[in-house]
C-alpha cells in the first residue's frame, strides 16, 4: 500500500506527514497555555489517509491532546457533536495500546462519551471500515 502511494509521487505521503507533524506541534502549543478544547478540536479535524505512517503520526498528536484533558465532562459539553464519532474511534485506538496511563484516560473518556453520545456512537466506530484512524 505504501508502495502504491510512492508510485503516485513520494511527495504525496511526505507532504501529508509534514502536515500531520505541523498539526502535532500546533496541538502541543495549544496544550501548554491550557486550552485543551482547542487542542482536541484541532486534533480531531479530518481523517488521515490510508497510509500506516500517517495514521501513526496523526495518532501521536491526538494522544497528546487526549492525555491533556483533565475535565472530561467539561470538554464533552463544549465539543461539537459532529466530533463524537471520531473521538470514539480514537478512544478505542487508545484502549488497544495497552499502556496503563493511556488506557486509564481513555476508559474515563469512553464512559462519559457513551453517556453523552449513546450506543450508536460505539456502533458507528465498529462498523465504519472506510474512515479508519
Amino acid at each position: 500500500m505504501a508502495e502504491a502511494e510512492k508510485f503516485m509521487g513520494s511527495d504525496n505521503v511526505e507532504d501529508i506527514l509534514t502536515k500531520i507533524e505541523n498539526k502535532s506541534l500546533k496541538i502541543e502549543s495549544l496544550i501548554k497555555p491550557y486550552k485543551p478544547i482547542e487542542a482536541i478540536k484541532t486534533a480531531l479535524e479530518g481523517y488521515p489517509p490510508q497510509d500506516e505512517r500517517c495514521k501513526f503520526a496523526n495518532w501521536i498528536g491526538v494522544r497528546k491532546a487526549l492525555m491533556a484533558i483533565k475535565d472530561v465532562e467539561g470538554i464533552l459539553r463544549s465539543l461539537n457533536p459532529q466530533y463524537y464519532d471520531i473521538l470514539m474511534k480514537y478512544v478505542y485506538r487508545g484502549l488497544s495500546t495497552g499502556d496503563r496511563t493511556t488506557c486509564d484516560q481513555c476508559l474515563k473518556i469512553h464512559e462519559k462519551l457513551t453517556e453523552k453520545a449513546g450506543f450508536g456512537c460505539i456502533l458507528r466506530s465498529l462498523t465504519d471500515t472506510v474512515n479508519t484512524i
Binding site: L95, T97, G98, D104, L107, K108, E111, F119, L123, D128
Partner: protein, 150 residues
C-alpha cells in the same frame, strides 16, 4: 485500582451492548449451512472492526463481531507463577465443560485465557442483558482475585 476496574467493566458492558446486534444469516458459500461468521472470517462484509480494550499491560479483552456471532476473548492478570498455573487449570476446567455454559468456547483464542462465542441463537433463547451481565460478572469474579487464598 477499584475505580479502573469499574471503568473497565463499564466500557466492556457498553461495547457489548452496542456490538450484540446479531441476526440469523445462513452461510453464503455452502447452501443449507449456518456457521458463526466470526469464526470463519471468510467474507469481510459480514465482519465488524474488532475492538481491543486493555485495562493495563496484563489485562485485555478482545471483542470481535460479525452478523450472526460475537466472540469475546479475555486475558486475565496473573501476578505470579502460582496464580498463572491455578488460573490456567481453573479456566481449562471451565472450557472442558463448555457445553454446560452454552456461550463458552472450548478453546480460548490464541493469546488469551478464555473465550466466549455468542451466536444469534443464544440471543434468541437467552436475554441479551443477562448475557452481558453474565460476562461482566465473570470478569469481576476473576478480578477480585478469586484464587488468592493468602
Amino acid at each position: 485500582m477499584a475505580s479502573t476496574l469499574r471503568l473497565y467493566l463499564t466500557c466492556i458492558r457498553n461495547t457489548l451492548e452496542a456490538a450484540m446486534c446479531l441476526q440469523n444469516f445462513p452461510c453464503q458459500e455452502v447452501e443449507r449451512h449456518n456457521k458463526p461468521e466470526v469464526e470463519l472470517k471468510t467474507s469481510p462484509e459480514l465482519l465488524l472492526n474488532p475492538v481491543l480494550i486493555c485495562r493495563n499491560e496484563a489485562e485485555k479483552c478482545l471483542i470481535e463481531t460479525s452478523i450472526n456471532s460475537l466472540r469475546i476473548s479475555l486475558k486475565v492478570k496473573q501476578a505470579d507463577e502460582l496464580e498463572n498455573i491455578l488460573a490456567k487449570k481453573f479456566l481449562r476446567f471451565l472450557s472442558m465443560r463448555a457445553e454446560a455454559f452454552q456461550v463458552l468456547r472450548r478453546k480460548p483464542v490464541q493469546g488469551y485465557d478464555i473465550s466466549f462465542l455468542i451466536t444469534n441463537y443464544h440471543c434468541e433463547e437467552l436475554q441479551k442483558q443477562k448475557l452481558i451481565d453474565f460476562i461482566v460478572q465473570f470478569m469481576e469474579m476473576h478480578s477480585l482475585k478469586y484464587f488468592r487464598r493468602t
